[in-house]
Symmetry: none
Subunit: 208 residues, 4 copies
């Protein structure tokens, strides 16, 4: 951080790289093109990052940190289970719209067999997992959640729905699929989607 590259330049680099990796994949993205788009020399990138994989790793790390914030925000506000879930969905919808590139990159991690990024990614998964588990444990104690569900599996299913939700707002393929399932104007009905997903989840987990 004390090196000749300003923070602004690094931010630009990472931002350009996240876009590139997210759109074209690890192999499809070109370091040289990233350098050009970030108005940087290739050389300087290699001063900061060992190789392509390291740059990819950094992008991933930062994207995940961003995602982390979303979850952090939610669990801060101590409210009802229902409002928590609604909040989470709302945040994900908004985040996936304003920063689809982070989600797209997240999606690329899964597919790129790089050994390094995984660790970072799982770190953030861990956060989500524990966040969800906490929410659910509390809800269970409050008696609003049925107790014949394995809380871990529940959190897992829940996160699955959340992941697919944000991918469906951020990634082209999933966007198409979303429209195919729900009609071309589904992307204009965030509230309806939110409401329905809440109904789905609440019914799934609530005591009768």
């Amino acid at each position: 951080m004390l090196k000749p590259l300003t923070q602004k330049q690094i931010d630009k680099l990472i931002s350009v790289a996240i876009d590139a990796f997210g759109e074209k994949g690890y192999n499809g993205a070109s370091i040289n093109k990233i350098a050009k788009d970030a108005h940087l020399s290739v050389g300087v990138i290699y001063k900061y990052y060992e190789d392509k994989e390291a740059l990819f790793g950094e992008c991933v790390k930062l994207s995940l940190e961003y995602l982390e914030e979303i979850f952090a925000d939610i669990t801060k506000n101590d409210v009802t289970l229902e409002s928590m879930i609604e909040d989470l969905i709302l945040h994900l919808q908004e985040a996936a719209r304003t920063h689809p590139e982070y989600f797209r990159l997240y999606h690329q991690i899964i597919v790129s067999g790089s050994p390094h990024p995984d660790k970072i990614a799982h770190q953030i998964e861990g956060h989500a997992a524990s966040a969800y588990s906490r929410i659910l444990a509390e809800a269970k104690d409050a008696g609003v959640v049925r107790d014949d569900l394995d809380p871990q599996l529940f959190a897992f299913f829940f996160d699955n729905l959340m992941m697919m939700l944000h991918f469906s707002y951020a990634c082209d393929y999933y966007k198409d699929r979303f429209r195919e399932y729900c009609g071309d104007d589904i992307m204009d009905k965030d509230e309806h989607v939110r409401e329905q997903l809440m109904k789905f989840i609440l019914a799934a987990i609530s005591t009768r």
Copy 2:
């Protein structure tokens, strides 16, 4: 070795290719490496497949056919909604275990970088979507499904859970995530997972 490739050799080629494409993606996989791993010459691949895209296409086609069978099997047995869903989950669990490479390839198609991702992958979606719609329509007619849910969104959420399920058995990243959520031995408890997922889904969709 100078007379036509045996079926075994072709199978080996396709199997190697599916692995390669599934692991490294379309761009990351190398035809020359595939040839070497399949103990074949590069040239012979080009006798059987016009180009890399054609080989990829063949891999996709075969994977697709395999996935189709799963859905075909399920809807054949005319049974209750509950047993249908159970059947589906069971089949997906088994399929994702015995042929994870098909699901990995499927996943690669979804992330950018593969040629014609739309055409190819939407075929699978189409099959799944219509299978789900049918199941659900029947169930609704039978009055076992609540009617305050948008049927399209419902099918969408349902498919989301199914996709995440098979990816969680087939793709390394998702496998790790699965274990992180549910414990290292979760992959040995298929029945438990199935049972819990059924509970989750049935509660979500059933009339009270």
Copy 3:
């Protein structure tokens, strides 16, 4: 010639090969395509010809033999210098029209650095050279040819004109060039060309 391939098959092969080499050049022509077009297996070609170069050499040899015949024909008829030249031009015009492929191939030899074919080609050049020299020597003795011309250079200039003439009827590039110089309908005025070329040559060589 006693081998399983009939003479007809060999003829077909050579004919196809001459077309291919003449049109696409040595490198551009494909042995496999030649085999296919000649309804022969690749293998059998390699039984008859050591390699691609040998096949090319054979094509060249046969083409040149064909050209040789033209010259042989002419010098047989003992006539005046004038009629000889006219005969030669006429023959070349006809030959270049009926068998442009031989001339096209001849043209390719010049350009292909193959060491072998040259010898064969020069052989035929030798024939032409001596034919021309003879004609001119006789004419000189008869006093119709000026004697301040080096007979060898004369024969050379004369042959140059003849070569360019047949290339101009047989090879695409030279055909275009011909038309560009003399108008689009020049190919329909063989007699005019012949007459003019004779005037040109006779004036060049005759005693005043």
Copy 4:
């Protein structure tokens, strides 16, 4: 060696490329081999030239420019028809000796296999054709040229002789042929050749 290629290196590259293309033709020449011979990496060629065709194009362009100079030089000196022709022959002899590679390349363009042969080569023709036409038109006006010759065909025959002349000094096959016609020492008697060719041409075209 990591800062821009020096002009010397580029010149070397083009020179090597012209040799390669001129000797083996467009298809026969290998970019990788050219790079090696020019002591350059393959990659750098592609920094300077879009693709093989572009490199070939540059070689052709330079050769063309050189050939143009020859014709430009000649017509500058306003002299008699005779001296013009002598000048032209002299220039062609010298040029074909000092830069045979340009003429060899020119010849390669003519035979099929090169990209865009028409566009490229006709440019040269155009220059020559217009040069000849001008020369002859002037000569005709001056009454030194007989008027029973089709001026277009005349220019054509004239150019034919000039083309064969320079090819005979530049291309191996034609060189051998030249020697066979005129003796092994013919290449050492440029003046004699020039004188004889002039006699030949002047007699062919002059009024008696």
